[in-house]
Symmetry: C2
Subunit: 150 residues, 2 copies
DNA sequence: ATATTTACTTGCAAATTGCAAGTATTGCCG
DNA sequence: CGGCAATACTTGCAATTTGCAAGTAAATAT
């Protein structure tokens, strides 16, 4: 029963990473994996600042600043100065950016549905419940271990 | 019940990625995330060739060739020509490399145990079972969806 | 015996990264 | 109010990482 915990997570995480990579072209835009993550996160958060998204993704702020610039240049993201605090830029997806993000999301979900299609309803529910459990507990465990999570 | 499947996986995968990143210095060697993945995979496979590991990790072979060179240079990996087919180089961890890989692995598992420590035995078993299910089904689903997994 | 394939390596040139140092705006404290 | 620190973001490098093209060397096919 006490197997190597890391191994099963490592394999799963790698495969999920491949999936993310493969779905990058889904929007017809050939964006990079990093850009895909950024689109995803801007879509998910409610009018986030540059700082917020950079931190969420664990990216250096200067690197992130440039990534955003490139996404603005290709017309997928727009930067709006915060009306209250003008040091801050609010990020949002353009119509085109939203479309790309949605296409990627659909393709991801489609693949995942496909993975689940070989499972019973019970198994599927179990898996979803398990991931929720993991997420909840990983969040709680931020300061538990010697190495803090970023 | 029908929530966004991708989301929960995306969050989990990202967090697990952070964990991997944070454990890179565990061996006292300050290696990069990519190097950590390579050490892990060399350790896991049984005397793999350069080609094999590159493919497993989804890395371009030329990039991978250079990554291996750097790991050889810092003394964590050794390249041995295959006695039967001399085009092939067999990869293995040096004693030091094995130690680094083990340290990282221990730290990863330690953190994961910590995450599980807030769960009941039943919950833990459920999660482990769920990840196994996922891995099994993701493997089966290679050619299922329109976008093939790498 | 020659051609093709396979495994791996190098030459670039482009893209990505992060630290240091910058600007601009806001908040703080006397 | 005025000056000083803090915050949000941007640019200047310089180093690293990346991948395609083109190479070498060994094995396999014809």
């Amino acid at each position: 029963m006490e197997q190597n915990l890391r191994e099963i997570f490592q394999i799963f995480s790698r495969r999920f990473g491949f999936l993310n990579k493969n779905c990058c072209q889904a929007g017809g835009h050939e964006i990079s994996l990093v850009q895909s993550h950024i689109l995803y996160e801007i879509d998910r958060q409610h009018h986030p600042s540059i700082q917020q998204v950079a931190e969420t993704l664990g990216t250096d702020i200067t690197t992130f600043s440039r990534q955003v610039q490139s996404l603005v240049k290709i017309g997928l993201v727009s930067k709006t100065p915060d009306p209250i605090d003008r040091r801050i830029f609010i990020l949002s997806l353009t119509a085109e950016g939203k479309e790309v993000a949605d296409n990627i999301d659909n393709q991801m979900n489609q693949f995942l549905e496909c993975v689940f299609s070989n499972m019973s309803q019970d198994e599927k529910a179990t898996v979803i419940h398990a991931i929720h459990l993991l997420n909840k507990n990983m969040e709680k465990t931020n300061k538990c271990c010697t190495t803090p999570l970023g």
